[in-house]
């Protein structure tokens, strides 16, 4: 009898704490392991490295530079926004921005790839688009002319 009452009291308390917790706790983000790693000379290199990390984390260095080069090529192309920021944050243009993966810290490989891409290294050969054939749902993208395949990505324009 006494034991059951104890369970009941514990149950009441637990429910109150849980519901209170759900209502009162602020939404929190988690801090991933991070370290200071150096200096870049401009924000656009850093933004570029974040999008490379978000979009091509699993790719080789070559594949990462190629993704960065596509963004640099878009900035230079009159049919796309005129800055790295405009291209990266164009609504719906990059999955990594839409699903928030962009907001994690880039790897040092992504930073190096971004620097190479900004400096003019372009493994894609002037591509304006890239997509992953196994996950891409857009049919329109296949109307682009394919100019290179690097890792999981197809590059076209």
């Amino acid at each position: 009898m006494k034991k059951r009452r104890l369970w009941l009291v514990a149950g009441v308390l637990l429910t109150l704490v849980l519901s209170g917790g759900i209502l009162l706790l602020p939404y929190g983000g988690t801090d991933a392991a991070a370290k200071k790693a150096g200096a870049v000379s401009s924000n656009d290199v850093y933004v570029l490295s974040k999008i490379i990390h978000g979009e091509a984390r699993g790719e080789t260095y070559l594949g990462q530079v190629a993704v960065g080069a596509v963004i640099v090529n878009r900035v230079k192309n009159p049919n796309f926004p005129n800055s790295v920021y405009g291209v990266v944050f164009e609504p719906g243009a990059f999955t990594a921005v839409s699903d928030g993966q962009y907001y994690t810290n880039p790897s040092s490989s992504a930073v190096k790839a971004a620097q190479s891409a900004i400096n003019g290294w372009d493994p894609s050969g002037g591509a304006l688009y890239y997509w992953n054939p196994s996950t891409s749902t857009s049919r329109w993208i296949w109307s682009r002319r394919i100019i290179a395949r690097i890792g999981k990505h197809v590059f076209g324009r």
């Binding site: 150096g38 260095y61 164009e90 930073v111 620097q115 857009s138 290179a148």
Partner: protein
């Protein structure tokens, strides 16, 4: 004692209500939580929607301004009005482009519409720079091009205006466009807003491409075929690349990683590291299929720190180039990026620096190893040129330079302007306060062709994931 009994009595009486009570509390908590989630989500969605509405209405408004301003340019005969009008068009085009970039239309092909804005921007910029440099206003030829742009602007204006009315009257939502676009392409066809943009694009397609004339179009360069039309085989490309990067007596084995069919058809080669090597990084080398020229190379090794300075790095970079047959190269730009030095060299013809034919070399500042080479511009543009003689002497030039500029260096050079046309110039480097500049004066006409600030950008610390 008595009190305890009383409590016990009460407790027993209300006992059957305890579990339903708890459920009610829990349900209420979940309900409140759910409503709050919904409310927050709604707030964010409204925020996104208002951002899209802003971009769209501004786009419509800017296009209206552009068409009005183009019409004014057609009827105006005053040079001063021309300058103001062209500057306004140029500015409005920039704003309209930013507005399109703010709309969730990444998967709706709008290339004709974007091409129109780009053309209008190019033309207004070109005419603006010409009109400001001369005493003449717009010529008949210019007005004809502007009239063609105006025709297209009118179509855009009407379509956007119609869409704006629909969006306002029928309360269409941009966030729905965004949701549809992120789900699948099939549903996009049933969306009124997307239909509107696709219709606009169709109407723009009916207009032929504008012939902007020699002044406004980018100069197109032919890709070199040095050894005729026979392509280099992948095996031959690997052999060439290996000797070029590693040297004659080398044991690295390369394989074809990919083939590029962009501006220059290429073999993308990958040379795996040897088993005994300190670090496991491959070397990537891109070779032109047409004649086996190395376009670029990179070795993404980890750089442990900066032990040598930028001028040491420069010597290493220059030696790397000399060993590969680049004999008379001049350093024109150096930039330290973290622990890496990035050097831009240009070749010389007689005393003239050939800026279009640049090569870049990356040097790791820990041990001075070259980790990257980029020679695509050199490959595309380098040739023996028939250079004109400067009509403007150095003494004449000096009189023209602003007294505010502390001149450090003057030398003859060849640059390619905004449209890729090559111009013989005097290069003047100098400074004002802590700012550094490069100025290019046309060596034939004396006009200041280009000025750029080359003060090193401020560095800031960044974070990488471990």
């Amino acid at each position: 004692m008595a009190r305890f009994n009383l409590d016990k009595l009460k407790f027993d009486r209300y006992r059957k209500w305890i579990i339903p009570g708890l459920l009610v509390v829990a349900l209420a908590a979940v309900g409140i939580w759910g409503y709050r989630e919904y409310y927050d989500r709604q707030k964010l969605q409204n925020r996104a929607e208002s951002q899209y509405q802003l971009s769209f209405h501004e786009l419509s408004w800017h296009v209206e301004m552009i068409s009005g301003q183009l019409a004014q340019l057609i009827v105006s005969s005053s040079r001063e009005q021309n300058v103001l009008g062209l500057a306004t068009v140029w500015r409005q085009v920039f704003a309209a482009q930013a507005n399109i970039g703010g709309l969730p239309l990444a998967f709706v092909p709008l290339s004709k519409t974007e091409k129109f804005l780009a053309d209008t921007g190019e033309v207004s910029f070109a005419l603006l720079s010409r009109v400001t440099q001369s005493k003449e206003g717009l010529a008949d030829q210019d007005v004809k091009i502007i009239a063609e742009l105006y025709d297209r602007a009118k179509v855009l204006k009407n379509e956007l205006g119609g869409m704006a009315a629909q969006i306002l009257n029928r309360q269409l939502s941009w966030t729905q466009v965004e949701v549809a676009a992120s789900q699948s392409n099939a549903e996009l066809e049933d969306n009124t807003i997307v239909d509107g943009f696709q219709l606009m694009e169709k109407k723009m397609e009916e207009y032929p491409e504008i012939d902007l004339g020699g002044d406004f179009t980018q100069v197109k360069h032919d890709v070199k075929k040095v050894d005729g039309d026979t392509e280099v085989s992948p095996e031959r490309a690997i052999e060439i690349a290996q000797k070029w990067w590693f040297g004659e007596q080398d044991k690295h084995t390369g394989n074809l990683a990919y083939e590029g069919v962009g501006d220059v058809p290429t073999y993308g080669l990958e040379f795996a590291p040897l088993s005994g090597e300190a670090e496991n990084t491959p070397v990537y080398i891109d070779v032109s299929k047409l004649d086996g020229t190395i376009l670029w190379a990179m070795r993404p090794k980890t750089i442990t720190g900066a032990n040598i300075d930028l001028s040491d790095g420069e010597r290493r970079g220059l030696a790397f180039l000399q060993a590969r047959g680049f004999n008379d190269m001049v350093l024109v730009k150096v930039e330290q990026q973290d622990t890496m030095g990035v050097y831009t060299f240009v070749p010389r013809q007689n005393e003239v620096l050939l800026y279009p034919d640049q090569v870049k070399v990356q040097v790791a500042l820990d041990n001075g190893e070259v980790t990257g080479y980029e020679g695509t511009p050199f490959y595309m543009f380098h040739k023996d040129r028939a250079l004109p003689l400067a009509a403007l002497s150095e003494a004449q030039l000096k009189k023209q330079i602003s007294p505010n500029l502390k001149v450090e260096l003057i030398r003859p050079a060849l640059i390619s302007n905004y449209w890729g046309k090559e111009i013989l110039v005097w290069e003047v480097r100098g400074s004002y306060a802590e700012e550094k500049f490069v100025l290019f004066y046309n060596a034939i006409t004396g006009s200041e062709e280009e000025i750029s600030r080359i003060t090193p950008a401020q560095k800031f610390e960044f974070t990488v994931s471990a």
